[in-house]
């Protein structure tokens, strides 16, 4: 193109989130770098221009198994409409993701999709793209696994014994990839349902801080969160070992974590029936959470967050007179079921028992 080297730049960047990618491209345009090409989804080529405010969007056009006439024409039709509305197709990558750009216009719609239904349709499309990959990997897995087993038991294949080892590693890698694709697909399905503004308000906040921390006891967790609150970081949401804080005024807060086990302890003490569901094999029944919420709110606690039906976290301002629901001695209890869930604990215990039995049988033979 006869361009000076300074007129283009190539950047390697790997984005899992499409929203983050779009915002980054937008930032680049404000700095005067306009997207020209994307290769392998990770190499970006930019052309130098004056600083402009561009907005970017991404779309893909996967066909169904038996595409209708409209589906076949969809790409051309949507692109035509997009051009009419001021968008320009910049490029597409090897994954057939099409990048579109348009100058930002105040008061107008600066996204390809502005209605929740249309966004949901696109989100589903992205998710099913990953599901197709997952299905493919599972079939390859099954095939390789069968071949590996056949090889292992066939006489005269000792010289290719590596194949059995290879098939095992291959299957493991494929399964890990399946999990990654499943999670990736779900991420897209979740974020593409939102408009860029909604997404930014929820996930793109700069005043949020995520901390990974393994806290083994309930008391330890409460102390950790109290210390953070004193530094001005207030917990807003949590995962098993990840906590999300928002920056605010430093304050003295007390935190309290409640679990089904502890709720049942209280119920027993009060002489009421405990929460027990014989049919709840996976630990999904959260009747206890309703009870816990009632008791905690009556005692002056405020709901902060919960991890599925495993636990609930509350907080109260120091000096507000909120009384802890549970006995002090339970604070030393190790968080196992309340962190990972009953099903996970069950699976691990079964696995260990299986390994022990296998070991004994193997030793006897």
């Amino acid at each position: 193109m006869g361009q000076d080297k300074n007129d283009t730049k190539k950047v390697f960047k790997w984005y899992i989130s499409l929203m983050k990618e779009r915002l980054w491209l937008e930032e680049q345009s404000k700095k005067g770098w306009l997207l020209r090409d994307v290769t392998m989804g990770v190499f970006y080529t930019f052309d130098k221009s004056g600083p402009v405010h561009m907005v970017y969007d991404v779309e893909r056009f996967d066909l169904s198994k038996n595409p209708t006439k409209r589906e076949i024409e969809e790409k051309t039709d949507l692109m035509d409409m997009a051009v009419e509305m001021g968008w320009k197709t910049v490029c597409h990558d090897e994954g057939q993701n099409y990048y579109l750009a348009k100058p930002y216009a105040e008061g107008e719609i600066n996204e390809l999709y502005d209605s929740p239904e249309d966004r949901a349709r696109r989100a589903e499309r992205y998710r099913s793209f990953f599901m197709t990959k997952v299905q493919l990997f599972i079939w390859i897995d099954i095939l390789i696994l069968l071949l590996g087993i056949c090889f292992y038991y066939s006489p005269g294949t000792e010289e290719v014994a590596w194949f059995s080892a290879f098939s095992m590693i291959y299957v493991a890698v494929c399964l890990i990839l399946c999990i990654i694709f499943l999670r990736w697909g779900n991420l897209y399905a979740k974020e593409l349902r939102l408009s860029l503004d909604e997404w930014t308000a929820l996930y793109g906040r700069n005043d949020m801080m995520a901390v990974r921390k393994v806290v083994l006891t309930i008391g330890g967790l409460e102390r950790f969160l109290e210390k953070k609150a004193q530094e001005g970081y207030h917990v807003k949401d949590m995962r098993i070992f990840r906590y999300f804080f928002s920056k605010g005024e430093p304050g003295q807060y007390s935190y309290m974590m409640d679990t089904r086990y502890l709720t049942n302890k209280r119920r027993k003490k009060a002489g009421a029936g405990v929460f027990k569901d014989e049919k709840d094999w996976e630990g999904c029944n959260n009747d206890w959470q309703v009870q816990s919420l009632r008791e905690a709110e009556a005692a002056g606690w405020e709901f902060v967050g919960a991890v599925e039906s495993r636990n609930i976290l509350y907080r109260a301002e120091a000096g507000s007179g909120a009384v802890p629901l549970n006995d002090e001695r339970y604070k030393k209890g190790i968080r196992i079921t309340s962190a990972f869930g009953g099903m996970a604990v069950f699976v691990v215990v079964c696995g260990l028992v299986g390994a022990v039995i296998g070991g004994i049988v193997g030793a006897l033979m």
């Binding site: 692109m79 409409m81 997009a82 509305m85 502005d114 966004r119």
Partner: protein
Amino acid sequence: MTEALLKKYRPMTETTYYTLLAVTEPRHGYAIMQFVSRLTEGRIRLGTGTLYTMTGRLMEDGLIDIVSQQNGKKTYQITEMGREVLRLETERLEYQLDNGLEILGKGEPKDGAGQK
């Protein structure tokens, strides 16, 4: 006109209603967006995806038609059936509005009608 079609479009979404109003005269995509935006004083803004999906659906159901096409720029116009659906929906809306006014009292919401 089939029962199923009436069921699908009665009641119809506001964006569909305004799009059908826009194509009572031949208009292309961008012109539809501008017309609707002007008519509703900027309250309803149609984006690319919405317009694309809607024109596609209305075409499939035979409520609108492409009258000319130039370099991918399509001009749409309402069909006889589309006009009939639009008329029936307007009647339904009128009835709905009457009911509303009857309960809430006449005159009151007239000035602010259509605005929020």
